[in-house]
């Protein structure tokens, strides 16, 4: 069942096209990563889903509703923007209480206490938010976003400005929300490593269009069909090996990497051809494995091709 759906979504600002016929969907319970360079239109997309902007064309539906015109539908979503949305002079408890009242939560004290305990901030409940670190504010922001137990959570750069410990904490929190509550999570992020770790599916936006949309596993696998990493006996790359490797016909490119060599095969070449050719050339191979590219490499490839096309 689709929780979020964009269909031919287009948006321009002052004659400049930001989004052009963007279509994708997010299934219920998924953790969806929305990637793209600065100015690609990621925040615009989130704002269109949240009803903060009106599309020039197409539709942006959340739970089958247009959040711009349906106040009640907004009760079923949670949002965390980069600025967290807190009043700095009020305490953590007062801020959460304010939103609990807006969302119509009856007797919210227990729920607030539960959330403050969950994020490890029960002892800071009555301190002004202005005295908190960026990480604490972000944790509190997530607590606020899930206060009313929404089915869908929109997170705009959830790890921005956080130290590694806090990043991990936020990551674990998102994973546990999805695993235990079946929450659909839409993440707008620049942290590709984070997205690779927690997202089930991603879409890459560049040049105002979706360049790729698939599971992280399939995207990274599709980008590495022709790369094999070779480790040589003794743990060292033999002298002149690179020169010799580049003369083997099935190898298009050979690059030293992680104590071995990553060989990119030509279109006709296979892993078996490569191994045979290396053995025939006199190299003693200790290990050969298909190289798994990072999401970053895939991302950069799509972003550059998208920007070139636009």
């Amino acid at each position: 069942m689709q929780a979020i759906r964009a269909e031919n979504l287009s948006k321009s600002f002052d004659g400049r096209r930001v989004l052009e016929n963007v279509s994708f969907s997010v299934e219920k319970g998924e953790i969806f990563g929305y990637l793209g360079p600065n100015g690609a239109g990621k925040t615009t997309t989130i704002n269109l889903f949240l009803g903060l902007l009106t599309p020039d064309g197409g539709t942006a539906m959340v739970n089958g509703a247009d959040l711009g015109s349906d106040d009640e539908a907004r009760r079923r979503i949670g949002v965390l923007f980069e600025n967290n949305g807190f009043s700095e002079r009020q305490s953590a408890y007062e801020n959460l209480r304010y939103f609990a009242n807006l969302y119509g939560i009856d007797d919210p004290k227990d729920r607030i206490d539960e959330l403050l305990g969950m994020i490890g901030m029960a002892d800071r409940a009555y301190d002004p938010v202005g005295t908190f670190s960026t990480g604490m504010k972000r944790k509190l922001g997530i607590a606020r976003a899930i206060l009313h137990k929404p089915g869908i959570l929109f997170l705009d750069e959830p790890s921005s400005g956080l130290d590694p410990d806090a990043q991990r904490m936020v990551r674990d929190l998102i994973l546990s929300l999805s695993a235990s509550g079946g929450m659909t999570v839409f993440i707008n992020s620049h942290h590709l490593d984070e997205v690779q770790r927690i997202c089930t599916r991603v879409a890459i936006l560049a040049g105002g269009r979706i360049q790729a949309e698939d599971s992280v596993a399939r995207l990274t696998a599709s980008g590495n069909e022709s790369s094999i990493w070779i480790a040589f006996e003794g743990g060292k790359v033999p002298e002149d090996a690179l020169i010799s490797l580049r003369t083997i016909p099935v190898i298009q490119r050979a690059v030293p990497e992680d104590g071995g060599v990553t060989c990119t095969l030509s279109e006709q070449g296979s892993a078996a051809d490569l191994i045979s050719a290396l053995v025939a050339a006199g190299f003693r191979i200790e290990e050969a494995k298909k190289r798994s590219a990072s999401l970053e490499e895939i991302y950069l490839r799509y972003v550059h091709s998208g920007e070139d096309a636009s």
Partner: protein
Amino acid sequence: MNELRTIARKEFFQAITNKGVLIASFIFAIWFPVFTTLGILAGISGDPGTALAGHLVSLTVVLAIFMGYLFSADAFFREKKDGTILTLLCAPVSLRQIWEGKVLGVATAAYGMTLLSALITIAVAFAVSPVGISLPWLLLVHLVLILPIYAAASAGIIGAAQLYLGMRENQFLGMGFVFLFIFLIFALQTLISPEGGVTLQTELFFGVFGIVLLLLGRRWAGRLSKERIVRTIA
């Protein structure tokens, strides 16, 4: 209704806990009226009660407008500048409810400060006047009915303007408002002579004009859209 009350309560407490705004409002609300009143009392030849009431009528209207402006800064401008209003716009509350709740909270604080200023001014006048002062009952009507309208109208129009305009335009709005404040003081003092006191006509004029301003603010707020607010955030 509950949402409106929630927003109003938050904005009221935000307003009365902002030290910077409180200090500025105290300076305008206490120092300025008290000293101008002492000057008026020293210079009049007629009934001091009539003169004091006539002076307070125009002065408190201007003060209510200025207090509405001062207390709006946190509720509308700062929330927009910091982008925290985005979170509020995503809550299950209409834009109209957000505006009304904020206006109610800000106007309550602005009215409270204006009333405090009027009461302190009256107390000081009573204390320093060599003759007994008797105030007309219409002044009570002015303080209880007219001033809240101006506090709300001011917060409403300025709030709508701050949400509608971009950051740079908002800075011009702030500067313009200070000039408007000074202009209003002189204009009202010229139009309504303190020695004429407070009359039914002046109260009717103030009442009708205040309601027109309030409705103008409401109409402007009705034309606001979330897109306009989002696109004018820095």
